[in-house]
C-alpha cells in the first residue's frame, strides 16, 4: 500500500496556515481601524474619556461650516494637483536625461535618489531652515543676483507658504517618479523605437508619438502613488508651517491631527481624515483599471 496524503502534503491547509497571520494583522489592525475611523467620525468620542455617543452628522456639519476646514480641503487639493503637475514634468524630463549615458552618471543617480531616501521629517526640517525668515539662502541668492529687491517671508505668507510646500513635496517625490518612468522606458520594446527611427521619426516625434503613449500607464502609476504620498502626508506641512500662519496652510492630515489628537476631539479628527477617502478611492479604482489593462495587454503579447 502506498503512503497516503497527510497534513504536510495538503497545499490548501498549508496555504491557509501560512497566510493566516498576515490576513489577521491586516484585518484586525488595518480593516477594523479603518471602519472605526468612519464610525468615530459619526461620534462625539474624545481622547480623555471612554464615553462614546452618536453625533450623527454633527461632526460633518460642524467642519463643513468651518472656514479653516474648507481652507484645508482647498489646500489639500491645490498641493496635491500642483505637486503632481510639477512631478510629471520634472520626472519625464529627468528620465530623458538619465536614460542617456554620461560621465558621472552613477554619482548623479545617487544624488537624484537622495530626496526619496531621506526621512520626510528630516527633509522638512532642512527645508524649514532653507526657508528661514532671516537666514534663507534662497533670499540671499535671489538678492545677490539682483532678482529680488524686497524680502520673501516664505513660511510667513500663506501664498508663498503653499508654494514652498509644493516645492518640497515635488522635490521629495520626483526622484521616485523618475525611476518609475525610467523603468517604463526600459520596458518599451527596442524594436518599436527602432522601427520609428527607421521610419524617419526625429527626437520629438519619437518622444510624443511613440514613447509617451507607451509610457502612459507607467506615468499613471507614478502619479497615483504621488497622489497618495502628497494628499496623505502630514510631516511636510506640520514641520514647515504647522498649519500657520493663522491656520491658512493646513491640509486635511494636519488639521485632523490638530483637532483629533492635540484637541482630543477624536470624532471631528476622524471626520476630517475621512475626507481623504475620495482621493484614495479614485486612486484605488484607477490602479485596478491599470492593472487589468496591463493584464489584458500582457495576455495579448
Amino acid at each position: 500500500m502506498m503512503e497516503r496524503r497527510t497534513f504536510a502534503d495538503r497545499e490548501d491547509v498549508l496555504g491557509a496556515v501560512m497566510l493566516a497571520p498576515a490576513l489577521a494583522y491586516v484585518i484586525v489592525l488595518v480593516g477594523v481601524p479603518f471602519v472605526l475611523a468612519i464610525v468615530l467620525s459619526f461620534s462625539n468620542a474624545t481622547a480623555g474619556s471612554l464615553s462614546f455617543g452618536w453625533a450623527g452628522l454633527g461632526n460633518y456639519a460642524a467642519i463643513l461650516g468651518d472656514p479653516i476646514f474648507l481652507r484645508a480641503l482647498r489646500n489639500s487639493a491645490v498641493v496635491t494637483v500642483g505637486t503632481q503637475l510639477l512631478v510629471v514634468i520634472l520626472a519625464t524630463a529627468a528620465a530623458q536625461v538619465f536614460r542617456a549615458t554620461f560621465r558621472g552618471k552613477r554619482f548623479a543617480r545617487f544624488v537624484l535618489l537622495l530626496p526619496w531616501a531621506v526621512p520626510v521629517s528630516l527633509a522638512a526640517i532642512a527645508w524649514t531652515w532653507i526657508f528661514d525668515s532671516t537666514f534663507s539662502v534662497i533670499n540671499w541668492t535671489l538678492k545677490a543676483s539682483g532678482l529680488l529687491h524686497g524680502w520673501l517671508y516664505w513660511l510667513g505668507d500663506p501664498g508663498l507658504a503653499l508654494t514652498a510646500i509644493i516645492i518640497v513635496q515635488a522635490w521629495r517625490i520626483f526622484p521616485f517618479a523618475t525611476v518609475i518612468v525610467l523603468a517604463g522606458l526600459a520596458s518599451i520594446p527596442q524594436e518599436i523605437v527602432e522601427a520609428a527611427v527607421v521610419d524617419g521619426a526625429g527626437f520629438w516625434r519619437r518622444l510624443f508619438q511613440v514613447e509617451l503613449p507607451l509610457l502612459l500607464p507607467v506615468v499613471a502609476v507614478a502619479v497615483l502613488f504621488g497622489v497618495v504620498y502628497t494628499a496623505t502626508d502630514l510631516g511636510v506641512v506640520y514641520i514647515l508651517t504647522g498649519g500657520g500662519p493663522a491656520n491658512t496652510t493646513h491640509v486635511l492630515p494636519t488639521l485632523a491631527f490638530q483637532r483629533g489628537i492635540l484637541g482630543a476631539d477624536l470624532g471631528q479628527g476622524a471626520a476630517i481624515a475621512v475626507f481623504l477617502l475620495p482621493f484614495l478611492i479614485v486612486v484605488a479604482v484607477a490602479m485596478l483599471r491599470l492593472a487589468r489593462r496591463a493584464e489584458v495587454g500582457g495576455a495579448a503579447r
Binding site: 500500500m1 502506498m2 503512503e3 497516503r4 496524503r5 497527510t6 502534503d9
Partner: protein
Amino acid sequence: MAGVDIRNLRKQFGDLCAVDGVNLSIREGEFLVLLGPSGCGKTTLLRMIAGLERPTGGEIHIAGERVDGDVPPRARGIAMVFQSYALYPHRTVFQNIAFPLEASRLPRTQIAEKVQRAADMFGISRYLDRYPRQLSGGERQRVALCRALVRDPKVFLLDEPLANLDAKLRNTARDELKRFQRQIRTTTVLVTHDQVEAMGLGDRIAIMDRGKVRQVGTPEEVYEDPVDTFVATFVGQPPMNLLDLGDPALPPRTLLGFRPEHFLPRSVFQPDEDVRAFRFSVRRVEYLGSDRYVYGSISDGAATDTTVIAKLPATIALAIPEGEQQEFAVPRRALRYFDAATGSSRKI
C-alpha cells in the same frame, strides 16, 4: 509489474480542458513518448502522473496501485527530469544527487556509496564538488538524470529533457538517453514536441492534440498508418500531402494522402509498377543538399490550388524545370485515404 495505467483521465483549468478523457496503458519497461504541439495537454498529463497536478476526473494506476487523488508525489515511486533540470542551485552535484536519498533517511555512508556508483555510471564523478552553475548544459542533464536514477524509481518521467541543449549536443544526448534506458529497463515516459526526438526514442509514441490521445503506436505505425489527418500532418517533415481530388473512383468527400518522399517523377518507377500518376505543375524547387523539395500543384482533378510537396533524394539527378508540367506518380501501396469531414482514416 511497474506499468502505468491511465483511465479516462481529465483535467480542467477553469474553462479550458487541458486533458480530456485520456486512456493509456504504459507497459512495464517501455519507453513511451508523449508527442504533440504545445498546449496539447501532454505536459499536464505527465504532471498528473507525477502527482504535481490533481486530476479533475479519471484514474491513474502505477504498478497496479491507484495513485490519483490521495498519493503525494513523494510516495509514487517516480522520478522526474524537468526541462530546466531543476538542479538545486545552492547544492553541489554530490548534494543534488544525495538529496532524494536524504529524504528516505538512509545512513550517510550508504548515501555516499550510492551517489558514487550512480555518478560513475553517468561519468560525472569528476564534477561531484561543483555547483550546477559551473556545469555545461550536457553535464547538467546528466546530473539531473543521475539524481532521478539514484532513487530506483518504478517510473521515469522526462519533460522535454533535450530541449535546452544546443542542436549539436542533442543527437549525442538522445543516443545516451536511449542506451541508458535500454540498460536499466525502467518504464519511461518522455514528453516532447519534437517528432524526430519522439521517433528516435520511443518504443511507442502517443500523439496528443487538444487534450486527447489521437494515436498510440510504434514509430513505424504512426508514420505509416496515421489514424487521422492530424497525425498524418503532424508526424513527418514535410507533412503528408492531403488532396480532395473529387475522384469518381473513390467514395465522395475522401481525402487522398501521400508522403512527399513517395511523390516522385514517373520516370523513376518501373513502367509496370502499380502507381497512381498525376500531372504536377512545378512552381519552385528548393535545393537542400541531401534532398530537393519541389513545390507545386496537381493540375488534373479538383484540387488545383492545394500546394503539394515532393521530396526528391539526391540520388535522383533529374532536372526539374520550374514553371513546367511534369509527370509525377505515387506507388499505390503508399496512398492513404481519409474522411474529409471527420479526418479519420478510411480503408479502401
